[in-house]
């Protein structure tokens, strides 16, 4: 499975949750598959989805699901110790690990070679880390929501992108409707 197929499968679960989605094609795919006010789309700033989601989870009690990528985690590796030492029980980091920089032409990342994000997350202090095969993402995400524990999911899947339109929504509109969804 590629990322867009996973997103399509878990869309019914994501619909009712606060979602912070990684820059580039992941946000374009989620936006095209099931746009919701409760989705925060990153339009810039590669690497910070996990940090934005962590700040949000620490500030309020609703569950927060971060959809991130292996490339973005590698660019902000300092996030893993911060998550490992501070993540509250309402925080779920789902790393779609397809071993490539999808938004820039599918160049390989180091997770396609020797680097193991599951092991790195554990070593950083994250207590509940689950490595998942693409086909099992939906049930494991449901388990994470039900677990009452901060969870890092590393979802191993194939490299590839669906062709979706660029998000043209104004960033302040994205942010404003997201804040209203948080407060509702």
């Amino acid at each position: 499975m590629i990322r867009s197929e996973i997103l399509r499968e878990i869309a019914p679960t994501l619909r009712d949750q606060l979602v912070v989605c990684n820059i580039g094609i992941p946000s374009q795919e989620l936006h095209a598959i099931d746009d919701q006010p409760s989705n925060f789309y990153m339009l810039g700033t590669m690497g910070l989805a996990s940090s934005i989601g962590l700040g949000l989870a620490l500030a309020q009690p609703k569950p927060v699901i971060v959809i991130d990528g292996d490339g973005s985690i590698l660019t902000n590796l300092g996030t893993l110790p911060t998550i490992g030492n501070n993540a509250p029980s309402n925080y779920i980091l789902m790393i779609i690990d397809n071993g490539s920089y999808g938004s820039t032409g599918d160049q390989p990342t180091y997770t396609s070679q020797r680097t193991d994000l599951t092991g790195m997350a554990r070593a950083a202090g994250c207590a509940r880390v689950v490595e998942v095969q693409d086909v099992d993402t939906g049930p494991v995400l449901e388990e994470a929501l039900a677990s009452g524990e901060a969870t890092v999911m590393v979802v191993k899947c194939d490299s590839g992108n669906a062709k979706m339109p660029v998000i043209t929504m104004d960033p302040v509109v994205i942010r404003d409707r997201f804040m209203k969804a948080i407060a509702s």
């Binding site: 962590l54 700040g55 911060t82 804040m179």
Partner: protein, 168 residues
């Protein structure tokens, strides 16, 4: 006057309840003060752009944030300031140790000090430079201004403000 407590009190009085920090020797006292306070959640970050991501999320979740860092971080965070904090119109007070200014003992610090105000000006970030300890009287107004306009605002605090760096 205990300057560290005064700064933390002003932050608390302006509703700031989420603070992330990357340390600097000049900021050690205020970081320790914030860490001990029950009215503020202190989450240390490993890099300043990561810290700005935490602040963005905390603000959307209903907490007023602040970041405490060194001016060298301006070099690290330009993209984050432009494409996250400014693009989505978020408030972010940045309490910055302004290394490389008067009474600085480490020559290399001057290399980023000479770019600091130029970079902030290029980004159209409102910038205040506290040089004398009495300048802290402006802090309350600066924080009110930040949350009024939903912008990142830089508060530069040099070695003279902190009473000298080490033995200098």
């Amino acid at each position: 006057m205990n300057i560290d407590k005064r700064i933390a009190d002003d932050m608390a009085a302006n509703g700031i309840s989420f603070v992330t920090t990357v340390p600097c020797k000049q900021l050690a006292g205020v970081i320790e003060e914030i860490d001990q306070r029950e009215d503020m959640l202190h989450i240390p970050s490993n890099k300043e752009d990561e810290g700005m991501g935490l602040c963005a999320g905390a603000w959307m979740g209903g907490k007023r944030p602040a970041i405490i860092m060194q001016n060298t971080a301006i070099g690290v965070t330009i993209n984050t300031l432009a494409t996250l904090i400014q693009y989505y119109r978020m408030p972010l007070p940045m309490l910055i140790s302004y290394r490389g200014e008067l009474r600085e003992p480490v020559a290399c610090q001057v290399e980023m000090a000479v770019h600091t105000k130029a970079l902030l000006a290029q980004l159209n970030i409102p910038t205040y430079h506290l040089h004398w300890q009495k300048d802290v009287e402006e802090l309350d107004n600066i924080l009110k201004y930040t949350f009024m306009c939903n912008k990142p605002v830089a508060i530069l605090t040099d070695a003279n403000f902190w009473g000298g760096y080490g033995d200098q």
